[in-house]
């Protein structure tokens, strides 16, 4: 269970790395359709993984912080507390 959480965070990190670098490339090559397809593909995957993680564990960003009983965003661990990867 715990390892699944870590694994998911790790996978998100990997996909996010791809997206960060692709963003910088696309900034200076805004008409490269091939790169855009690549971006869209990984962007969709990242979104899906973030949603899964946020539902199972804690919201990774405020857009996924929908809460009813308690404010899940505020209750979530902070990145330097050792539970965010």
């Amino acid at each position: 269970m715990g390892s699944n959480k870590e694994q998911l965070l790790r996978d998100i990190g990997i996909v996010d790395f791809v997206l960060t670098e692709l963003t910088l490339y696309l900034d200076t090559h805004p008409f490269d359709c091939h790169a855009m397809e690549y971006f869209n593909h990984y962007n969709r995957i990242k979104h899906q993984m973030e949603k899964e993680f946020s539902m199972k564990y804690f919201p990774l960003n405020t857009r996924m912080a929908e809460s009813s009983k308690e404010w899940r965003w505020g209750m979530a661990p902070l990145p330097w507390e050792g539970e965010c990867g």
Partner: protein, 89 residues
Amino acid sequence: MWSYEKRLQFPVNIKEPNAKLAQVIISQFGGPDGEMAASMRYLSQRYSMPYREVAGLLTDIGVSVSKLHILDLSRCSGSFGFRSFKIFQ
């Protein structure tokens, strides 16, 4: 303008705390020639960048650099330095 994610870019697992090393790393992050200062330079120089797409690039790089809470610092600053060097050539 900013939003952030509650996760690290790369998993960190400190097995042996090392205060001396931490001192070096924190100065690479927040010191006079650190990543924080570099990110602020990217984010202020973008306003006078004559090429629109490069102004956008400087914004994205500035954000990435400011996100480097954990890092292989020399490698990161090296590659970012190289990237900006290439742009301005």
